[in-house]
Symmetry: D2
Subunit: 361 residues, 4 copies
């Protein structure tokens, strides 16, 4: 599928050219390993500034599943599990990486569904898809502690949310505050998976800032792999990492990159001159353009996503035709003759790409 | 320590320029993820050809500890451990990553020591440092099965060797054949950690070829991180991978890179026009130059290494002076006034680098 | 709560007197350890005969969670999880023991619920409570393999059912055959948790025999702890255990009892002169007596259980009074003024016990 | 081997008759489960009094490996391992149970060996066999922290010693104080495996009391399985258990016995009227009688053990004859025609048993 235009995901291209330049420029510098170098330090400092958290601990890992697994293992006691939406990446799409490191994922339903009497098709409150809510979370925790047998059950020990979610949806600031409030009430750390964080922060329909996140959660990460980097996720513990020795924990998860500066250098560049936010904004603008075009052409939005992932329902015949020219992400069968697909823009999507896509839709 | 000349290790620089070029050239191609792309396929094919193993399974992981952990977990039953030299990386320097995934490392002594009556200092049979030998291995396995209680003990389920070892030493073909023979006799898979494999293959003092390795072991990897790549290790199962589903195993170890083609592309380039061997040979030639220089200047070689890592004993005063100009690897204290250090060349070391070093020695 | 009459559970008393006698009689025999003794062999032989499975492997463990954890770990590849009802013991009440050994529990809904328009209270199809069904199971497996991304998900690698369930319900032979058929179709082993197996086999409302179970599942256990033994569960693999070395797996789960003959001796006695079935029948007869009495007194059965656990809804005031005289198992709050409680009979419950209980109800 | 006189181990018989009586007496009391009953409380109180530690936490587990695994998992951070003698039970004979729960066993050599020039046979300082010493321990810890790379290694996070050791040897009070001192200096908890503790405390050649142990270690257990109980180990944390929730940790190790009172009742009885110490003393007196007899008959003691396990070297011909009449424990081959065997006395060994054995020796 290489070489053809594709909207199948936001990790189909390399890195923003400025990052590649920096790799070139520094290629023959000799740099100390394992993330102890000056580029990692500089990147961490810039991120702390952007978050307005001087005492944060920041470190850099390679990929999303690895990051989720390592952070969750840092947060939990052995007898604790992590609460997540049943559609959350850690619950559904990490091949059991959380259980591999010994912890249960305690799931909450992720969306409300109502019968759509008009046409018999499924309808959902689309801005809730992929999200948990504070009241469900509170009920889960309270029910747990109310149960006489709870010492025979898995303790809720951390809460995982993704922002944007796997469905492109976003929490409002009020929703985050409520979830954060429940977590504080029960002294349970809140972890925000920001694999696509830039696309969330730059959405036209969000009131959540990077500072808000740093104020409301105990740990989050700023995704690089899907937002302009070759690879890499910047982990931020706004109030400090909860273990004396994060390095051996990272190492025993196979997650300590020898040439750690490759991560530091990329994030240092992304957090210079607002690059991370600028390229994220591009993805959002292209997604809005795409959304308008889809609506104009009469497509039904499966979820009204405010970020870079757009989901539509298509007739299978038309989809077969489309697939000759354009890559897309299969999401699920809607019915016998329709399919839900994902179209994702990214940091590098151009106006011409959207126009080309529109031509074929 | 950035920017200064350093011989501290072989992972202080980025990648061979040809690899960076290829990253540039393909940056905006849109490529499918998780190692299912054409570059990974092409790289795997070239490696199979180089190994003369058409039915091999080849895949690409990011770093050494991750690779060791994932492979060993693929090889072992839950009640089995991996046999390794007590100095082996998996035994000593991976923060317990093997135990984290549930397996014991069963250690063998790695070198023979004899009293050196001349000067009272320690002497070792230096070509055995870091290695196991077939007779010790056979004894361990036979003793295990001879023990009436062995079902209460950890079964030897795989054998790990590194080539070159952590001390720069190499197995001879005869030694590998003997170890392989013991493994075959007891139906225990043999795993060769080739994090520095190129430097072993290009040594002036080896009779072991890549084909030999593919014939004698059940799995090995061709190190990229230390041999010209930004990162990456090419795992080769010459006779096929011993699990139906390697992907979820890799994923649950946090080791499945989203942009897997970054690995394929680098190895495809390294295995084009003999690049991997050529740059490995450079490191060896520079190491030989260094070795001659050291001998001329009267330095005592701590180990007579045939590869890119050279070890010498230095007076602490001289070392303090040296450290102002040159990076080196601290190895261990020899006595109150002497230190053993490591000087490593790599794929990019130049004649001028060696001359500069010699000036300060 | 010691010494008072209690129906709180079926593990509140010691062992059937015949078992204690046998412990007395053999106390000073000197017997080899770890289950390699003649009593274990004899018990295993009797169980094989009772199951009509001459080639079965039978061994004895101490308790239920330990047994579930060890068996599931024997059945699964690392990348596989176990499918269970969301109310299943392994999913809900084992403190994460399955995840502790690295495996996800993939849950299926366990009962169908319909609005009860008469009184606004919840109603359930009570003979389905605690059970999975073949069509849900088949859908889960088919959906898994139909998903393009399934190599990033947890493979369904075994199926866990309990019989009787945690709610006292039973599978019919037809239901078991259907589930077994799905398992065979997809080559997924079926595991039946028989912690209360005797009470299931002796139910007046079952068509499932011990032989049926041995024919339909890949592994099950015959519960001793709750059915007349001090402790102990007899694990049966009707067609052989799927690992070459069960002993070290049992040992590494901390589940290998030094004086293994204590288990063999108890099961040898339970499977002599039909004792296991006879004492199980007693519990059923007492439960039927209890059920009739409850109905006569106008109590609403929460679940119409065919085994030794009976569930009723009581007014909180009456419950407070009852609790002065009789132990019961709290199940859940029904509403603000009512509570669901469990009343369990066991191998030693007498007619007088039931009469005493009835007096207070 | 049942029914014949045997000295093969100290876990070949049931329980002290007083314990069986108590099981009989309480068999139909209805008792709450999982160790929350009055017998467990009473046993714990008696043990706290015997240790003179009012604030100790005491709980009861079933067997030795299970206890070692569960305690060590409670003591360690994920990146820590446990230090033990290479002959320690956790290092050598638990089928990898410690690694199964994610932790490395860091081994120290357990005995000093010197060449015996007189007859060319191996000689050992026999009172050191099976033990570690404070200076080796201190060196291991200091070397670890002195290593620049120690964050890539396994942290020494707890120390495991057995007393008596697997070879019947004992620590002196001075030795224990030294080891405890090192542990305190580095804030590393000290864990004493007392599977045979009674036999250590009642040795004629010890100066260590139960109170000493409670003062010097952070956790230990009082073995029941080998000292008069059917099964059971009493775990004592003299200064409190280091986790908020021990119950779910015990449960997830499959170690929470449903009828927990069976453990409490046995230990309550063992700690009434000094029974535990009295029956332990019997084993010691019988072992001393045996030892005198062996010496008189000219047998060479392999280790001069001060406890209930005695080790001698026998000619293979004589051993073959002996084995017709008496059970013994095979230990190891001494040379082509001699074997080291273990002869263990226990709480129930009689003067007649020793005389019978002597007849055959």
């Amino acid at each position: 599928m290489e070489g053809r235009i594709s909207f199948s995901s936001d990790y189909t291209k390399g890195a923003h050219p400025r990052l590649l330049e920096r790799l070139q420029e520094t290629n023959f510098e000799q740099i100390v390993g394992y993330g102890t170098d000056e580029y990692c330090k500089s990147a961490a400092d810039k991120i702390k500034t952007a978050c307005n958290k001087k005492d944060a601990d920041v470190f850099f890992l390679v990929g999303g599943t690895q990051t989720n697994q390592t952070i969750i293992d840092m947060l939990l006691e052995p007898y604790e599990g992590v609460v997540a939406a049943q559609t959350g990446h850690v619950a559904a799409h990490e091949a059991g990486a959380i259980e591999f490191s010994g912890h249960k994922v305690l799931t909450l339903p992720s969306f409300d569904e109502v019968p759509n009497t008009e046409n018999g098709k499924r309808a959902v409150y689309s801005d809730q898809v992929g999200k948990i809510n504070a009241s469900d979370l509170k009920k889960l925790i309270e029910d747990f502690y109310a149960d006489d047998n709870h010492e025979h059950m898995v303790f809720p020990g951390a809460v995982y949310i993704s922002h944007p979610t796997e469905y492109g949806t976003l929490y409002s600031k009020a929703e985050l505050e409520e979830i954060s409030g429940v977590c504080k009430e029960f002294k349970i750390p809140l972890f925000l998976d920001g694999a696509r964080l830039g696309y969330g922060l730059m959405s036209k329909r969000t009131d959540v800032t990077l500072e808000d996140i740093a104020n409301l959660v105990d740990v989050f990460y700023i995704g690089g792999t899907k937002v302009g980097a070759l690879f890499g996720e910047a982990v931020v513990f706004p109030n400090g990492v909860p273990t004396k020795h994060p390095v051996p924990i990272i190492k025993q998860h196979g997650a300590l990159l020898a040439k750690g500066w490759l991560l530091g250098l990329q994030f240092d560049t992304l957090f210079t001159d607002n690059l991370y936010m600028d390229i994220s904004r591009n993805a959002i603008e292209m997604a809005e353009l795409l959304r308008e075009g889809l609506k104009e052409k009469g497509y039904q939005l499966y979820i009204d996503s405010p970020t870079n992932q757009q989901f539509i329902t298509m007739e299978d015949d038309k989809l077969a035709e489309l697939s000759k020219h354009v890559g897309y992400g299969f999401w699920e069968k809607a019915d016998d003759s329709h399919t839900v697909i994902r179209l994702a823009t990214d940091w590098a999507t151009t106006r011409e790409d959207i126009e080309t896509l529109m031509k074929y839709l």
